[in-house]
Symmetry: C2
Subunit: 310 residues, 2 copies
């Protein structure tokens, strides 16, 4: 084993501050004070799955590897904060492995409450064919809390579709959507503006999102909408978001664009650099195109909502 580089950088966007740790996860977590984080959201290395990049954790030892980390997360999370864990068990010898079941049971012994399990339905799941199973099109989004009372801002993720709007939407052909979408601020945008606020409903615990194929740099791509949705749901502006397995930095970017502070921890220098660069690019781009962004924002938001809650 080589000795790991460690460093810390701080970037800002508008009023938000984003810290980046190049460090072992546990080491960096120990530098964070008790009860300071509003939301932890992460997609840890899946057992044995990303062996080539992360070293891979033996499925049978996954729980014992992860428990010290969840213990630290419990410590740094505010009493009314939330922990969202994106994970899916792998198949081993023809069976779904049980490490996630055991992880949930063990985390409850640590003091975590297992509040809810959201489903991420991956609309464009990985292709493939096996004689004894179909393609895996969903992942778990486990919600844990320290207390039955936690912060939840449901109105921030309301979905602008009722019966009436839905029928109209179905009657729009796909080419219509595309054409109008490209004409910024014109037809489609105006129509959306009419819908928004007319028929807002609360979403359910099933999210419909496509994986992002664009960022091939990091093997586990979780789409920007995923952290964005939970950040809007469980934090307000100025709150602090933590991702202990930052990867290519999706959580940091999502946090900054929503003007939340963030801490991201990544052990591999390659990914750390990718995360830093992506953050700079995305926030800078945002600043340069601020006028266009403002014009687009209503449409973008609507389209994102659609993608989330198809």
């Amino acid at each position: 084993m080589t000795i790991l580089d460690t460093k810390k950088e701080i970037l800002t966007y508008k009023d938000s501050t984003s810290e980046f740790y190049l460090s072992d996860c546990l080491d960096a977590l120990k530098k964070i004070k008790d009860n300071t984080v509003d939301l932890v959201i992460t997609s840890p290395p899946y057992a044995d799955q990303r062996k080539s990049t992360y070293g891979g954790i033996d499925p049978d030892r996954y729980v014992e590897w992860f428990l010290p980390i969840t213990k630290e997360l419990l410590r740094v999370l505010k009493p009314k904060g939330t922990f969202i864990l994106n994970i899916k068990e792998k198949v081993l010898e023809g069976e779904r492995h049980t490490y996630i079941l055991n992880l949930i049971l063990e985390m409850r012994k640590q003091g975590w409450l297992w509040t809810e399990e959201f489903i991420w339905h991956k609309k464009n799941c990985h292709p493939g064919k096996w004689p004894n199973r179909f393609r895996d099109a969903w992942e778990r989004l486990l919600q844990f809390n320290k207390d039955r009372k936690f912060n939840m801002y449901q109105d921030a993720v309301k979905v602008p579709i009722g019966d009436w709007a839905k029928t109209r939407l179905k009657n729009l052909s796909e080419t219509d959507m595309k054409r109008d979408n490209s004409r910024v601020g014109s037809g489609f945008g105006k129509r959306i503006a009419n819908w928004v606020g007319k028929e807002l409903v609360y979403p359910s615990n099933v999210l419909h999102l496509a994986t992002e194929s664009s960022n091939k740099n990091h093997s586990a791509t979780f789409p920007m909408e995923l952290p964005s949705w939970f950040i809007k749901l469980f934090t307000k502006e100025g709150d602090l978001v933590l991702d202990p397995f930052l990867g290519s930095g999706t959580t940091s970017v999502a946090s900054a664009l929503l003007e939340r502070d963030s801490i991201g921890i990544e052990i591999l220098p390659e990914y750390y650099e990718i995360a830093i660069n992506r953050f700079k690019k995305n926030t800078q781009q945002r600043v340069n195109k601020i006028k266009i962004d403002l014009k687009l924002s209503a449409e973008e938001d609507f389209v994102n909502q659609l993608k989330l809650y198809g």
Copy 2:
């Protein structure tokens, strides 16, 4: 406690035989021979949920109540057979209860393999609003097997939609679909005929189905498409399907229409009668309308596939 009525009736449809037991589940199971069942599919009473009708099982005692039953199911299932368990944990004191996690772990100790977990996305989930959670829109469909090698007929549930058909479908307005659907054998039917065989894809492990509210007789309606889909996937004509918690008899009807034999067990006389009557009505109706059904079958099948894999 009153002494329960017990009886057994046998009904037939085409070449298939359907047995109905009015009996305690365990008692009836013990009359079934070892290694004779090709598919067990059932939706047991959820913990504490149907208290008014089924007596309700205490969540903390759910596992110990269910394990003797799964032991019998393991005995009667053929080596290459499959057990599909439809279940969802309830919320207790703000947390998702862990009895299903424990059930899976305990069933593995009995010798079951936990092969897969399908998701049933309930499009019309129960409404409601709470300060700390969204509506629950999914249920588990746990797949268990006795052996890594099991029968699976994937081609039987192929979905007739590729990218090309998908795009065309989106461009069809809803009213177009309805209108053409009503003209039997005309436009829509022909178009389907063009698609079938052109773009067949395998489905994923996420099923999109609405619950059936039409059958008001039984509180827990699982939609006919659900057992139908798994029956097609895991059995062939003439095979034997078992539902130890028959309820209003959906599994028996689905089995008969697909010409599989079936055994259904129901402890409550009210539901037993409903199941018998529904079976008679559905199979009889089917026979009367056999010509129309044959004409419709291609379309019906397509529409059902659409509903399953939206």
